[in-house]
């Protein structure tokens, strides 16, 4: 499908004014993931790699892949890879951050209270031991 679309665009000479449908669909998927709050920087990087290969095909200067067919396959793979990625939404990520924050707060309070209680316990015990020793000396 991608092959056909790009061929048509190459023949009509409008490849840089319009994008093949598969690129448009992938862009929509990236933007959907983004609107759900996902971090799409990796996907953007992959998309730009596909664009760069498309540019190589258009200018007939194959640098990152040796031939038209291999370049097309590469583009296909990249776009499929992007479309198949399931990024966690921002809401899910935010919720986990809040849950971790609450757990961390409980652990910190528990550790602080336990440390304080232990300090008090050891100081009381030492004090009692000293009193016993004084009484024994008397």
């Amino acid at each position: 499908m991608i092959v056909l679309t790009i061929l048509i665009l190459l023949v009509s000479g409008i490849i840089l004014d319009e994008l093949p449908d598969e690129f448009t669909e992938t862009l929509k998927n990236i933007r959907n993931a983004e609107s759900n709050g996902a971090d799409v920087k990796d996907l953007v990087e992959k998309y730009n790699r596909a664009l760069s290969i498309l540019n190589e095909i258009n200018s007939n200067e194959f640098v990152s892949c040796p031939s038209y067919d291999i370049c097309m396959e590469e583009i296909n793979n990249i776009l499929e890879e992007i479309n198949n990625v399931n990024l966690p939404s921002k809401q899910a990520t935010d919720l986990s951050i809040f849950i971790y924050a609450i757990i961390a707060a409980i652990i910190a309070s528990f550790a602080l209270t336990l440390s304080y209680k232990m300090l008090v316990y050891y100081r009381t015990r030492n004090f009692m031991m000293k009193r016993i020793r004084i009484k024994e000396d008397e």
């Binding site: 994008l19 862009l27 933007r31 609107s35 540019n55 961390a104 707060a105 602080l112 209270t113």
Partner: protein
Amino acid sequence: MSNINLYDIVSSRLFIVSLIIFLSIAISISYVYTSTDINEPILRLTTFGQNMSIADYYPSESPFIRVGEEVNWNVQIYNKMGKSELVQLRFGIANATNKQVLYEEIQLIANNSTYLLPLKWHIKAADIETRDNNTYSMIKQIVINNNEVNVNIMNTNGTDFRAVIELLRYNENTNKFEYGDKVRWNEIWFRIE
């Protein structure tokens, strides 16, 4: 140690007070970390000269560009539109009325990211022609980022040409690159020698 048990800890005043303090701090930090910017959307196009400065646009100090002299510019696009933007950057040469696009680059720029495109170009062939008692400067060939392009732009001898850098945004609905609501372009004037 046997006197300290879990119930004593969690029911103590210290635990409750410290939990309230730690929770406030943790939730505040999480809120700041997860909150999104609500600034005005910006898509900025800037053209820098050599060394990323807003000077040294020409090979020499004057705005004259000789045939074969290399011009080094850096075009920077900053996207803070709140979403990824698919943009098309166009470089063209123009006289007072006509423009010819010589080079195009398409790039998807993530939100809150910057894309930098170095533009290295030189005039490979130019000519001076006389028609109807008027003398015209003609640019015939330009090499830009190693792409050789035939040009057909002429100007009255002694008047300026324009190097035009335009930024177009992709419109998903029309499947075309279009000028946005605010047209973004840079223009640098030069003369040929």
